[in-house]
């Protein structure tokens, strides 16, 4: 891949989300990308912890993903959900014990042979800028083995990005901001 073109303008700095977003960012059904009654609905859940292994109850997470067929959706209605329209985006404030849940579907591969993943953004008090990562589905081992990002990681790092499929079909993905098994977080071209 060739060099990304230089930015014309310097980007505005980020700042922490702080502790007081409670009335602003959460909204009704924010974490329900599909209704729980949808037969294809999947629970994506986990805990978020700090460098001492303590949970981070005042963090806010967002996911952004393709639909089951790998189509990237461009439909409004995320903030006022009608229960039928899949918009691909969701948000949740982590609960008092550091646990989060999204109700969604398994994303399909956006291109043939690609490993499907859900994009995750992490905000928290104490975290001075947002963090990005990917939640890979565990099933397509051939695609996972061929994935350029996963292939560039050590085995231990790689594990932090692949969700676990639980017996009931749920996806488990824990987020560790610091310390042992620290989640791999990502940067992209053209950030500065």
């Amino acid at each position: 891949m060739s060099q990304a073109p230089k930015l014309k303008l310097a980007p505005t700095p980020g700042q922490t989300i702080g502790p007081f977003y409670g009335y602003a960012l959460p909204f009704e059904k924010d974490n329900e990308l599909v209704n729980q009654a949808n037969p294809n609905s999947v629970r994506l859940h986990g805990v978020i912890t700090d460098g001492k292994g303590e949970v981070i109850p005042d963090s806010l997470l967002e996911i952004w993903q393709a639909d089951e067929n790998g189509n990237v959706i461009s439909r409004d209605g995320s903030l006022v959900r009608d229960g039928y329209t899949f918009t691909g985006w969701g948000r949740t404030a982590v609960d008092n014990v550091g646990h989060y849940t999204f109700t969604t579907v398994n994303p399909g591969a956006t291109e043939e042979g690609k490993a499907p993943f859900i994009m995750l953004t992490v905000f928290a008090r104490g975290l001075l800028n947002r963090l990005f990562t990917r939640i890979y589905l565990p099933e397509d081992t051939a695609a996972l083995a061929a994935d350029p990002l996963l292939s560039s990681l050590t085995e231990e790092q790689r594990k932090t990005l692949i969700a676990t499929r639980e017996e009931d079909g749920s996806l488990r993905f824990d987020i560790r901001l610091q310390g042992e098994h620290e989640t791999v977080f990502l940067s992209y071209p053209r950030e500065s």
């Binding site: 310097a10 505005t12 460098g51 409004d76 905000f123 800028n129 901001l177 990502l186």
Partner: protein, 277 residues
Amino acid sequence: MSTETTKDESFENSHVLDPAATADSQETISKEITSVHEAYRQEVIAGKKAETQPRINFAPYRSSLLRYPTKNLHHVDPETIELCSPAFGQRDVHALESDLTIQHNGEPIGERIVVAGRVLDGDGRPVAGQLVEIWQANAAGRYIHKRDQHPAPIDPNFTGVGRAITGPNGEYSFTTIKPAPYPWKNHHNAWRPAHIHFSLFGTDFTQRMITQMYFPGDPLFSLDPIYQAITDQDARDRLVATYDHSITTHEWATGYNWDIVLTGSNRTWMEDEEGDH
């Protein structure tokens, strides 16, 4: 102090803040800030590229100590989903949600202001039809939040929350009340400069950001470890709105301008490159 307040504070401390941290003086915090900034200046003199974002590892902000990744961010080329963003529209946000002064039966107390500007990407292109969310303290420095224990009055006519969808040129405008500074527990006698939180989306989800807009000339800037986590003065200045008399309206509200620049979109140049093959 009520039992509920005590419980709430211990909840916060147990997860986030070393109780000893609140014993640090402003002088201690300011010294630490100066030392990081001085080291950065030396790096720039030695030829390092100017920083545009805050350090996520910034010890003077005590809550950050256990919450920043210690490994470098892993550089990756974005794939399909990362090159797109969710869509928001009139279904999601009502036009009146950009006026924070009309959400209750009465007028909120304080200095009525209009904050207006544009959302642009790193190439200077307007980000049109995207969601902007804001939240802030009231004119006394108090948030509507169960964990804000600052003994300043709650304004029953002000929640401090607004939303807007950007126009075709990336423009947005909020009518609100000027927020006040407020104390917090990072160290002894710690005060945040007055600010409005902004949440922004771009055309690529990798441009997603949350930040804080400040007001010109705030005397608390140099003391604040969150603002000063941005080591570069030019970058810090980008978070400060400008007083703009052309936004000020006759006998109604004073006006501030603040343009927001997101990181660069990767969609256009990557698609162009694919086309070259």
